[in-house]
Every structure is written in structure tokens, then in C-alpha cells.
């Protein structure tokens, strides 16, 4: 033991943590001998250890992607002796370096370079190494009710057999297994049925519709027992009675579950959580991006825009707090701080609460919650009245015209819209309707052999009607129209221009009146509008949840995006941009593994989803089966424009509307905790009659999974694969890869003869094995290509990504050199062979692409270089489409509650309406408006066991203005209970004998709009390792640190009509967080 560790270098791969310690000890020894005092030996001055900190070497780092929140920052996981000991930012990722390193930067140079991540990202170790992680299958102890929190551990095989075959699993009678619901297995029949159903739905005549249903029954007589209800063939097959519902889901895994549940099992019921999050942003985005496909509005993308704030000179953040949440701090903050301090960028924050973002803003506008749309209308009005809009941009009615002016996008500002008798805008005027130009047969996009009739649209050019094709590209077809068209009648049709409709809508009130609605000063609004229009395209209004999660969310969002359209900032540096990602699914020509097509067989799921999305109430057989006077309002709302309506899934199961459900799988979501009025779900979840089988994938026993029949442990984010996509504010084309970085803590299991960690994929593979699904197993990826391990799927995705999107391979990444290969393997030496096995991996990827795949994996994904992101004043990765500020499709929808047409344009709708459109009025007792926000150190559930973060803020508070505290005779620091009209007791009733009150301490501040109270998300847990539970008869103690604070979602208003669902935005689908009136009771 006389040698010192100075001979050890960081590049020695085999040096374990223990050896290292020993060597470090030896150094202390040796220097002591040299006559130095211990002091010198034990500080850096001893010097012997310098250069020997192993975690600074890429050999002890794996680059991946964070999932502590959904910002998906690139990370590097630093490992010591196989244990993740530190997480830092991946410098290749545009999220953590500003700008990020060029992709070609030699990997070995990056060991000591790290980007910035937020405190949650830093604390991720505590999520992965959470002592409360479940590691084996937990089954609800037979004889105990759901939610009793008594469990038994059972083997993986037994668990799979039970859920597949069903039986008397809990001593409560027979539970239907999955096999029973896997009724329709013939894809061809399914396809035929789907086509027949489509015809039924399309039939407008009610009698004929009935006839078609009868016809259906005859045609498919042999298969009627596979249907949920033969009288309603549009419900689809029994397969639909299995529902997969997810919270946080990323690419790769989403493809895996689609492959299993839709293409394999054949259910249409796979629903995400979008509407709890920022639903109406997405679905307004979808409506604004609908394209004309084969003459119909279709192909809208579920997406939204955010600002390219790196290049903005002026930003209005509305209901968005990039310093605290908002996809998110590491990604967006440096652009704002460096922009405002170094380059004089001004930003305004419109938020009832002085968020950290607002706290640093040029202007904080503490708006009255729910009036965001009104503020946008005020700004629109000022911009229009003062002609500060970009007329060049707006007057271009088609692509060609836009291109002439150098614009990638265009709008319907100058299109003519027909008005109804009351002068209300309806659909666009078509050229054939006024004899301007005949319809024109054009080939169908789906089947070029067939044609459809294309009808031209109409604009006025200096008062003269001109027919145009919105997508015409040749310069000759470029058309610019008049922006202001009012009081014009063409061929018997009263028409207005799109912009005129918007202007009329904005002129419903004066700027002062709008300001009054917002509780703001008109002067401020004018000042903001002037600034907004003073920076060309380098200004934007960047909006988020505070705009979308209202009952009027859809129209709020539409109004703000319309405002952006007035300056035409879409696709411009500093304006609004969208996310762009590399294809990993093999969807591009030439990619080595077209996974969507690679299948031994595939189902064609069809039918109405349990949340009735993408379907029109009036077309359904349910509608026609009701007597005419009972049709409105519908029992529950329908969502023709939205999907992934989180708050609909479980209540619809509870109401068995439109049909009952047999089994619910819940993946990485906690609707009970995260939804407004989530407590209402417990009533459904605890009732096996309403929901016979409830299966959850989770990493701990959470607030929702505690009610499950089975909890399957999952691999946590540092133990698994995912492809993370991007966020709208990222101008670069990217695809970050989450890859196994630490050895999974869960049990190892065997499926299809393969060892693998027990996680979501293992479970689905295991079910597939038992049900013999054609797109899994030895020929799962096509003849002779097995899909028997998750790596079979994900590694091929890596290969696709490495290959790139060009058929000739010219877009491929470089090969990893020998050193990179060596480091790659060395860094994974701690992973078990069921996770990492070079030979296995190489075989799956294929020799040809192996080095490229390693190149991608070493860098934690694929990221476009900074220099490629901008072309002149515009971003390279463009939206490049029409920005629908007037939406014919939206207008075409009739509300399922009122039967009335929706508005197709920006319009102020007051907030806090119930699903039938009636104002929710709880009376003067409820005198404070409840809102919610996030603190940077917490997310919903995942971080509540992150003890480092608890140290920053151990409990949340009831944040309110000092004036309110005094007015109500309360005191700072006093404990109060939050009570609302729909939760007068102010408690979470867990239906297991426990009631958790919503009591918090008041924090009196100046930075809050009087009349409004807010609470931070992530506290007040009542499961998640916070309370005692029992496994195999042994009591496991909960950790009270995890339950501190309160969670006031249960105080959020239940929709008075629906009774078991929060207030919601009936158009955009948003669950509503900010429109509840509460009162505070001294506790």
C-alpha cells in the first residue's frame, strides 16, 4: 500500500469506486509518510488525486434525456461503480447549452463539458433510487377493497395469467380477462366493418341510417358477438372495452403501446393526458393547421407554437412561466436572461401571480383569470384600428402570394366568408357558388386513380372577385386580396373578409371595456400593443396553460395566435415557431427499419372511443336512437376537435357512456392527483362493477395506482428507452434518446425466452405471448424478424435515426471511431446482459449501421447544428402552411350540448361556463378565485420523494395578496382550509376511510392579484410513499416528508351538469384549473 493513486488515471476503465477510495486512502498514507501534515495531504494540495475523479471521464458517463418534468433536457448520467451519482446537462443538447455543441464534436472531448439543468434534473437520482419504488408485481390483496392499500407480491407469470384469463381473482366474483375482450381478431373483417360503419355515420337521413345498421347486422351476422352492441355498430368491437390511458408518454414507448393496443389487440381506446396539460393549445393548434385534403379540412396536426425567443426583441408571456415550468427552465431561461440583460429585450408577463418570470419582467400585468381572450381582443383591436398589422402578409390568400413576399405561411384574412341570416359568419364562399370558376376534378391523395371536385375559393381584389387555390405555388397564381370586405353581397351571398370578421369580433368592445374585463389598465394594453408592433417579426406572444386551461381555452388561444398572425411572425426568427424532429420510426423512404410496416399481422381498430373524440354526436347511432327532444344536451360532451381528453376517460367509464369498459390500463399517469376535481374519479375506480379490472404501471404506489388491482413496476427514466421529440420553442431538428443508463432495480423476468427487466414493455410482450398477437413474437417484425425483447424495437429506431431521412443515406451520421466504440462499451459495463449486450445489440442494429448507432447513442440522440437552424430572417424548420385564423371546419361542428355551431374565429367567450354553456355561479360566499402554478422544484408526483428538493421547499402555501389577508381578517402563516361549492368539506375522500383535508398555511405577498389565491403543484400527496401500506402482511412505513403541504385540486369545481368531471373547455377539451371560486376557512 505504498503506491499512490497518481498513477491511476481517469481513463482506466476498471477502477471501481471502492478501489478508488482505497487509492485515495493510500495517498493520504503516503503523504503522511512524506512528513506533510495530514492537513496538507488531505486537501487538494496533496495533489495525488488530481486527475483521478472517475466521473469526469466519458467512460463513466451515459448521455440520455431527463424526465423529471417534461422539458426533456439532455443529460449526462455520471456513474461511479455502476451507481448514478450525479446528473448534468448533455452539451450536445440544445436544451442545456446555448448554443449547443456541434454534433460532430468529438465525443471524448465532452467528458468535462456539461450544460445546465434545473434542480429537478439534478435530483433525478432520487427518483430512480427512490426507496419506495416497486420492484415486483403487486396485486390487491384478495378480500380487501380497492384503495385499502394492502398488497401481495405475486410472480410475473401468475399476474399475466390472471389478467389474460380472468376468473375470481379477488374473491369478489368473476373478473373478465383480456382474452375475453380480444374478440375480433380478423383484421380483414375489422376493415370491412370499419368501412360499413363509416357509411352509417356519413348517412344524414335518419331512416336510411337505420337501414344501414340493419344491413350491417346482416352482413356481419357471423361476427355480431364480437361487437359491443350490434344495434350500435359504430361502437366497434368488444376489443374497445379495453382502455389504455397514459399520463406522460414519449416516443418509442408510444409506438410500442400503439403496436400492442391498436395494431395488435385492436382497441381504439388509447388515450393520453393532453387535456390536463395544455389541451386547448394543442387542439387550437390542430384546428389552425387543418389542411384542405381532397377538398376537406383534414390533416391538422396536434401541435402548437411557441416563440423563438432567442431572437425576439419583445415577448408577451401569457399564462406561461418559463422560469418555473413551461418546457422549460434550462431550455428557455438563458435566452431570456441574456436577451434582456445583454441585449435589451423587453418582456411582459400576463399572469395573476407575480411568477418568477413576472418578477423580472419589464411589465407585470396581473390579469383577472379567464379574461386572457379579452386582452388579446383588445390588442387585436388596437393593432387593427391603428393599422399596425402586416398587410402584405395578411393579404396573401395563397401559398404563391405568400412566397412572393417571402413568407412561408399565409392566412384566410382576405378570404370571403359567407354570412347567415343573422350576419354570422359560416363557411367560405366557393367560386362555383357564384359562377366565378367551375369545380375541377383532381386526383385523390389516397388513391390517385380516383378524383374529387376541387372548388376554388374567392377573394376580392380591389373589389373584384378572384378565384384562387390556397395551395397554388406558381407565381402566376399568386393572389392578394382586399383585407376589408364588409356589406358585400356576391351572387346572393352576403360575405365578409376573414379579417373583417375578426375585426368585428374585436370591436365588440372598446379597448377600455376590454381592459375593464381583464382588470387591467387600458394604457398598459396600448403600450404593449404598440411595442408588439414595433419590432417587425421579432416579437411574439408566447402563451401557455394560463391561457388554455379555462372553459374558454380554445378561443383564448385562438385569439392570441390570431394576434401573432397580425404581424405575420410565424416561422420567423424571433416569432412563433414549431417543433421539428428526426424520424426514428422508419417512416421516411430508405430508412432501414420501417417499423410501422414491419409486422407479422395487424388489426384495424375501429369504432367510437370511450371519450367520443374525433366523432360527431349528430352522426352517431346514439344520437338517432334518442327521441328528438332528448337529444340535447347529450349525456356527456363529444370531442370532434380534440383527443386525449384525460378528464373524460374514467368518468365515461363510470357512466358507461357510450359503453361499459372491462379493463383499464393506466400508464405513468395519476389522474386522481393531477386532474382538477380528481377526487371524483375515486368513486369510479373503487367500484369493480363499473370497472372490473384496473391495471397500473407505476414506479411507486401513487395516488391513482393505489386503487389498482395490479401494479406492475416499471423501469424508471434512467433505466429505459424513449425517443423524446421536441418542444415548440426549439428551432433545431432534434430527437433526444432516453437510454438505459443504470441497472434496473426492478425484478428480472423472462418473456419469449428472453430475460428482461420487469417493465411496461415486458408486460405487454408477456400478454402478446399469451394472446399470440401477430405483430409480436418470433415473426413480430415480419417473417423471421423477432420482436421478443424491447431492444428489438428500440435499437432499430436508433438505427433509423442514425441513418437519417434521405433515401440515399446522405443524411446519415458519421461512424463512431474505435475510441468511441470502446468508450461506449466501457461506459455500459455495469449494465446486466438483459439490458446491454454488445453482440445482441449489434445484431439487431446490423453491422452496417452499428457504428452510426453508437455515434448517436454516445451523444444522447441526434441534434441539428446551431448553424443550420436559421436561414436569413426565418427558421429552417418551418411550419410553412396556412395559419387558420378563420376555421370553416370548426364552424361546421355543432355542439353536443346545445346543437349550435361553434365559432370559427377569435371571439371573446366569458370564462367559467359549464359544459352546457351556463355560467357557474356559486354566490358571494365563495369570494376568491383559485388558481394553481408550479414551483421550479416540484412536478406533480415524480419529485415528491426527491428529498433534496424538499429541502428547498418542504411545503406549499396558500399564496394571496396582503390586502386579501387583511380584508378577510386572516393572518400570514395561518392555516386555512380551501372549500368550494362542489367540495364544501374541503377534503379528499379516498373511499377507504381516509379523508385528507385541503389545509395550508397562508403566505401573504404583494405579488398576487387581489381576489385570487394560488397554490403550487406537487404537494399534499396521500400516497406515493407518504403513507403506510401493507405488502405480504408486512407494514411498510410511509415517509411523512412526502405528504407535506396540500393539493387543492379537489376544491376545483365539478361541472354541475356532468357531476363527476371538472369544468372543461368543450371545444379544445382542456380540463379547467383556473375558474373555480373558493373560500378559506380557518383550520
Amino acid at each position: 500500500m505504498t503506491d499512490t493513486s497518481s498513477s491511476q488515471t481517469s481513463t482506466q476503465p476498471t477502477m471501481s469506486r471502492r478501489e478508488f477510495l482505497r487509492n485515495a486512502g493510500a495517498a493520504g498514507f503516503a503523504s503522511a509518510f512524506l512528513g506533510l501534515t495530514p492537513a496538507l495531504a488531505l486537501t487538494q494540495e496533496g495533489g495525488a488525486e488530481s486527475g483521478a475523479i472517475p466521473i469526469h471521464s466519458v467512460e463513466n458517463q451515459i448521455y440520455s434525456v431527463c424526465l423529471q418534468c417534461n422539458t426533456i433536457c439532455g443529460i449526462k448520467v455520471k456513474l461511479l461503480d455502476g451507481v448514478a451519482v450525479k446528473i448534468d446537462g448533455n452539451p450536445y443538447s440544445p436544451w442545456t447549452m446555448n448554443p449547443h455543441l456541434d454534433y460532430e464534436t468529438p465525443f471524448v472531448q465532452t467528458g468535462t463539458v456539461e450544460g445546465a439543468i434545473c434542480p429537478k434534473g439534478q435530483a433525478g437520482l432520487q427518483t430512480v433510487y427512490d426507496p419506495y419504488r416497486v420492484v415486483k408485481v403487486l396485486k390487491r390483496k384478495p378480500g380487501t377493497p380497492r384503495g385499502a392499500n394492502q398488497w401481495i407480491t405475486i410472480s410475473f407469470e401468475q399476474a399475466l395469467n390472471e389478467i389474460v384469463e380472468g376468473g375470481d381473482l379477488f374473491g369478489e366474483g368473476k373478473v373478465p380477462g383480456l382474452r375475453e375482450s380480444y374478440a375480433l381478431t380478423d383484421a380483414k373483417v375489422a376493415g370491412e366493418m370499419a368501412a360499413a360503419v363509416k357509411k352509417i355515420l356519413a348517412e344524414k337521413d335518419e331512416e336510411k341510417k337505420k337501414g344501414l345498421v340493419e344491413e350491417f347486422k346482416q352482413t356481419f351476422a357471423a361476427y355480431l358477438d364480437t361487437l359491443i352492441d350490434p344495434d350500435h355498430p359504430d361502437f366497434g368491437p368488444k376489443n374497445n372495452q379495453v382502455v389504455f390511458n397514459w399520463g406522460r408518454m414519449k416516443g418509442g414507448r408510444s409506438d410500442f403501446i400503439t403496436r400492442f393496443f391498436r395494431d395488435g389487440f385492436g382497441t381504439v381506446n388509447t388515450h393520453g393526458h393532453t387535456t390536463v396539460c395544455q389541451g386547448s393549445l394543442y387542439f387550437t393548434g390542430k384546428a389552425m393547421s387543418e389542411k384542405l385534403v381532397d377538398g376537406k379540412w383534414n390533416g391538422g396536426a396536434k401541435f402548437y407554437w411557441q416563440g423563438d425567443i432567442r431572437n425576439s426583441e419583445f415577448i408577451i408571456f401569457v399564462g406561461a412561466s418559463p422560469f418555473e415550468g413551461n418546457y422549460g427552465p434550462p431550455l428557455r431561461v438563458p435566452k431570456i436572461t441574456e436577451g434582456s440583460v445583454n441585449h435589451g429585450v423587453k418582456f411582459v408577463v400576463v399572469d395573476p401571480r407575480l411568477s418568477k418570470t413576472a418578477g423580472k419582467a419589464w411589465k407585470w400585468l396581473p390579469i383577472q383569470p379567464g379574461s386572457e381572450g379579452a386582452m388579446a381582443m383588445a390588442l387585436i383591436r388596437w393593432v387593427l384600428d391603428n393599422e399596425r398589422y402586416d398587410a402584405d402578409y395578411l393579404s396573401a390568400v395563397n401559398k404563391a402570394a405568400a412566397a412572393l413576399k417571402g413568407n412561408p405561411t399565409w392566412t384566410q384574412a382576405a378570404w370571403l366568408v359567407k354570412l347567415d341570416e343573422e350576419g354570422q359568419p359560416t363557411t367560405f364562399l366557393r367560386a362555383s357558388e357564384i359562377g366565378l370558376r367551375e369545380k375541377e376534378p383532381r386526383p385523390l391523395s389516397t388513391d390517385p386513380e380516383k378524383t374529387y371536385d376541387f372548388d376554388y375559393f374567392v377573394t376580392l381584389r380591389n373589389g373584384i372577385p378572384v378565384a384562387f387555390d390556397p395551395y397554388a405555388e406558381s407565381e402566376a397564381d399568386a393572389v392578394f386580396g382586399d383585407l376589408w370586405v364588409d356589406g358585400v353581397t356576391l351572387g346572393g351571398f352576403k360575405v365578409k373578409s376573414g379579417l373583417q370578421i375578426i375585426a368585428d369580433s374585436a370591436r365588440e368592445r372598446t379597448i377600455e371595456e376590454w381592459a375593464e374585463l381583464c382588470g387591467l389598465d387600458a394604457k398598459d394594453l396600448v403600450e404593449v400593443a404598440r411595442e408588439f408592433t414595433s419590432h417587425g417579426k421579432r416579437a411574439c406572444a408566447d402563451i401557455h396553460r394560463g391561457v388554455s386551461q379555462h372553459t374558454n381555452g380554445f378561443y383564448n388561444v385562438l385569439a392570441w395566435y390570431t394576434l401573432n398572425a397580425l404581424i405575420g411572425n410565424y416561422d420567423y426568427a424571433g416569432g412563433l415557431i414549431k417543433a421539428t424532429t428526426y424520424d426514428y420510426t422508419g417512416g421516411k423512404k430508405g430508412q432501414p427499419y420501417p417499423l410501422g410496416k414491419m409486422a407479422g399481422g395487424k388489426m384495424a381498430p375501429f369504432g367510437l372511443s370511450i371519450i367520443r373524440h374525433d366523432a360527431k354526436y349528430q352522426e352517431s347511432t346514439l344520437y338517432t336512437s334518442l327521441p328528438k327532444d332528448k337529444r340535447y344536451p347529450a349525456k356527456r360532451n363529444w370531442y370532434p376537435l380534440a383527443s386525449d381528453v384525460y378528464q373524460e376517460v374514467i368518468p365515461s367509464i363510470g357512466d358507461a357512456y357510450p359503453y361499459p369498459v372491462k379493463a383499464l390500463f393506466l400508464y405513468m399517469g395519476s389522474p386522481v392527483y393531477s386532474l382538477p376535481a380528481g377526487h371524483k374519479l375515486i368513486e369510479v375506480l373503487t367500484d369493480p362493477k363499473k370497472l372490473p379490472l384496473f391495471i397500473a404501471f407505476d414506479i411507486t404506489i401513487g395516488e391513482t395506482s393505489m386503487f389498482a388491482d395490479y401494479i406492475f413496476p416499471d423501469t424508471a427514466y434512467l433505466e429505459r428507452w424513449e425517443f423524446n421529440g421536441s418542444h415548440p420553442s426549439v428551432p433545431f431538428k432534434v430527437q433526444g434518446i432516453r437510454q438505459p443508463a443504470v441497472a434496473p432495480v426492478v425484478e428480472e423476468v423472462e418473456v419469449y425466452g428472453q430475460k428482461m427487466p420487469l417493465n411496461m414493455e415486458a408486460v405487454l410482450l408477456g400478454i402478446a405471448e399469451r394472446l399470440n398477437l401477430p405483430n409480436f413474437g418470433q415473426n413480430g417484425l415480419g417473417e423471421g424478424i423477432p420482436l421478443i425483447h424491447q431492444d428489438d424495437f428500440y435499437l432499430r429506431m436508433v438505427a433509423n435515426l442514425a441513418f437519417g431521412e434521405k433515401e440515399d443515406g446522405s443524411d446519415a451520421v458519421p461512424d463512431a471511431d474505435d475510441e468511441e466504440l470502446r468508450v461506449f462499451e466501457t461506459a455500459r459495463r455495469h449494465l446486466p446482459s438483459s439490458v446491454f449486450d454488445v453482440q445482441r445489440w449489434k445484431t439487431i442494429v446490423g453491422d452496417a449501421l452499428w457504428r452510426k448507432a453508437v455515434y448517436v447513442l454516445n451523444r444522447g440522440g441526434r441534434f441539428q447544428n446551431f448553424s443550420k437552424a436559421y436561414k436569413g430572417e426565418q427558421v429552417t424548420n418551418k411550419y410553412g402552411q396556412m395559419v387558420n385564423i378563420y376555421q370553416e371546419k370548426t364552424y361546421g361542428i355543432k355542439d353536443a350540448m346545445t346543437g349550435k355551431h361553434l365559432y370559427g374565429y377569435a371571439k371573446y367567450i366569458p370564462a367559467a361556463l359549464d359544459v352546457t354553456g351556463k355560467p357557474v355561479e356559486d354566490g358571494p360566499d365563495f369570494n376568491l378565485r383559485l388558481i394553481t402554478h408550479r414551483e421550479i422544484m416540484q412536478t406533480k408526483s415524480r419529485t415528491s420523494g426527491n428529498y433534496w428538493l424538499n429541502a428547498l421547499l418542504s411545503e406549499n402555501t396558500v399564496i394571496m395578496n396582503v390586502q386579501d389577508v387583511e380584508r378577510l381578517g386572516l393572518k400570514d402563516g395561518e392555516r386555512v382550509k380551501i372549500v368550494s361549492a362542489s367540495n364544501p368539506d374541503g377534503v379528499w375522500n379516498l373511499y377507504n376511510g381516509t379523508k385528507v383535508p385541503m389545509i395550508g398555511k397562508i403566505k401573504a405577498v404583494q405579488g398576487m392579484r387581489p381576489g385570487v389565491v394560488s397554490f403550487a403543484l406537487g404537494f399534499g400527496h396521500f400516497a406515493y410513499g407518504g403513507v403506510d401500506f401493507e405488502i405480504d402482511g408486512i407494514r411498510v412505513q410511509g415517509d411523512p416528508r412526502r405528504t407535506r403541504g396540500f393539493h387543492a385540486n379537489a376544491a376545483m369545481r365539478v361541472d354541475p351538469y356532468l357531476g363527476n368531471t371538472p369544468l372543461l373547455d368543450p371545444v379544445g377539451g382542456s380540463a379547467v384549473f383556473y375558474d373555480t371560486m373558493v373560500k378559506l376557512e380557518r383550520a
Partner: protein
């Protein structure tokens, strides 16, 4: 934990104690002329830093890292490490606090760099201020002269360090620090109260490796044993991440600063970012009136 390792560690400690007794002949190091520095100790081979991205100004992190590499080429006594915190850019994210906790494996109750939050003004004219508070690395530190055993002192690079093996845990230095920058390690771990329950859930014993792992502070492997070995029982403080500096990395709180508010470098290098910033009129230090001469500057 391997027994062997444990006994190793114990014997090391005992040995050092013995050596310490013998070395007592050296009596007070202060009287012997302070801390002689091993100026010619072997230098770390710094890895080559990546080039900045094409057609763009590099992230300020990269720039500072290059300056750091430059400074490391100089003899230690010619470096003057300073930290500059731009309060206009600090967004109160606390990433630095936690990065520091994670980097140095700080146990409950020990914190080197909290971020203090303040609200300024009255409704509706209100703003927020966030003040990160690392150790000021005072040029005239009140904390070192009070130490009865010279366990804390200013090293040759101007960083105030604590010699964990020397410290007796009297906390005189903590009392003396006007900035509350020192905290005492009482030997907790964050997971200690969690159940073991092995076989049912992950359990504490399979979960706590990360917080017991070596923290590399001062370039040493201080892991966290169950017994009372240092740094448990010691006063602890921010050390400008010397262990990282010497391997070419910026302090953990700097690299993870999402606001790019915390800047670091060698003020003796006239071309460094920090040298440029601390010459501006908007520079201030905390409690200037005390004359402690902090090496942590704030921009307002």
C-alpha cells in the same frame, strides 16, 4: 460495505491520528509560516476542450471553461478565482443549490449555496430578487483566524478551505462567518428514515448508495460511512469546487446555472469574463462595510 474497506478506512484514520501526534512537533502551522504549498505537484492533463459551435458565439460556459484551462497553466498563487453573480439574470431556480448538494453529496442540514428569495415593492409594482449565497471566499475571512487548530485557512489560490481531518468541529468559524456560509455536518442521510423492506419495495439499503458515494471534495474520496468519520462532525463550506477546477471543470453551480447568472474565472487574467465584469460600476459585494473583501461579486 466491505469490511475490508471499512477497516481500511478506520486504520487510515487512526494512522493519521498517530502521524498527527508525531507531527505535533510541527506545533502550530501558523507559527511555522502558514501552509506551504506543493507548488510543483504533478499537473493534470486537461482534456482538449471542444470547439465552439460553428457560426455562433459559444455559450458563456464554454468561454469560461477555456479561460479556466488558461488559468490552470499558471502557478496556483498567480490565480485569483472569483465568482460573479448577476442578480439581474438569476431566476431563483435553485439549480445551483442542488447541483452543489449533488456534487458534494451534502447531507441534510448542510448547504453551501442557498438562494435567498425576496419580493420587492407593493402591489402592483412588485418585482422579485434572488440572491445566491455561496461562500464569499473572503480575502479577509473572519472565519479562519478563529479556528483553534488551523483547520480552515486560505489556500494558495485564495480559496478558503476546511481540512476535514484537522477540524475538531467547534463551530467557531461558523459563528464568525458574517454570511452564514458554513454549516455543520451532523451525520444525517436523506434516506435514513425510509424503510428497508427489501424484497417488498426497493428499500433504503438498495437505494442509498448515491448519497453515500464519494464526494471528491478537495480531491479526496470522502464517502459517507455509518460511523463518525469526516466530514461528519465538521464545519463544511463552499470551496469553489477546487476538485473540479483542477480537472478543468467549472464549479458545479456555474455549469448548471440556467440563467447564466453565475460566472467564474481568474480575475488576474485581464482577458477573462470575470475581470471584465468586476470592473463595471454595477458591481457590489455583500456586507461591504465589514471589510471582508469577498471574492464573490454581485452585479445589480
Amino acid at each position: 460495505m466491505a469490511d475490508e474497506e471499512k477497516s481500511m478506512r478506520l486504520s487510515r484514520r487512526n494512522f493519521i491520528k498517530i502521524v498527527g501526534v508525531a507531527g505535533a512537533a510541527l506545533a502550530s502551522r501558523r507559527f511555522l509560516g502558514g501552509h506551504t504549498a506543493a507548488a510543483n505537484r504533478p499537473r493534470v492533463e486537461l482534456p482538449e476542450l471542444p470547439a465552439p459551435p460553428a457560426n455562433a458565439d459559444a455559450d458563456v460556459l464554454l468561454r469560461m471553461q477555456e479561460e479556466l484551462a488558461r488559468a490552470l497553466k499558471k502557478p496556483p498563487s498567480e490565480r485569483r478565482w472569483v465568482m460573479v453573480i448577476d442578480l439581474r439574470k438569476c431566476v431563483g431556480c435553485h439549480a445551483c443549490t442542488i447541483a452543489c448538494v449533488a456534487e458534494n453529496k451534502l447531507p441534510p442540514g448542510v448547504v453551501y449555496r442557498p438562494v435567498i428569495e425576496k419580493e420587492i415593492g407593493t402591489y402592483p409594482n412588485v418585482s422579485r430578487l434572488f440572491v445566491p449565497r455561496p461562500c464569499m471566499q473572503c480575502e479577509k475571512p473572519p472565519c479562519t483566524p478563529v479556528c483553534p487548530v488551523n483547520a480552515t485557512y486560505t489556500n494558495e489560490e485564495g480559496v478558503v478551505v476546511v481540512d476535514y481531518e484537522q477540524c475538531i468541529g467547534c463551530r467557531a468559524c461558523i459563528t464568525a462567518c458574517p454570511y452564514g456560509a458554513r454549516t455543520s455536518d451532523f451525520g444525517y442521510t436523506y434516506t435514513e428514515e425510509t424503510p428497508v423492506a427489501d424484497g417488498l419495495i426497493l428499500g433504503r439499503e438498495r437505494a442509498d448508495d448515491y448519497e453515500r458515494a464519494s464526494n471528491f471534495e478537495y480531491g479526496k474520496g470522502y464517502d459517507r460511512p455509518g460511523d463518525h468519520g469526516s466530514p461528519i462532525g465538521n464545519a463544511r463550506k463552499c470551496h469553489f469546487c477546487l476538485h473540479r477546477l483542477h480537472e478543468g471543470l467549472l464549479p458545479a453551480c456555474v455549469t448548471t446555472c440556467i440563467g447564466r447568472a453565475t460566472l467564474f474565472g481568474d480575475a488576474n487574467d485581464p482577458d477573462s469574463l470575470v475581470a471584465e465584469l468586476i470592473s463595471k460600476p454595477n458591481v457590489t459585494v455583500l456586507k461591504e462595510e465589514l471589510g471582508t473583501k469577498p471574492r464573490v461579486y454581485y452585479l445589480v
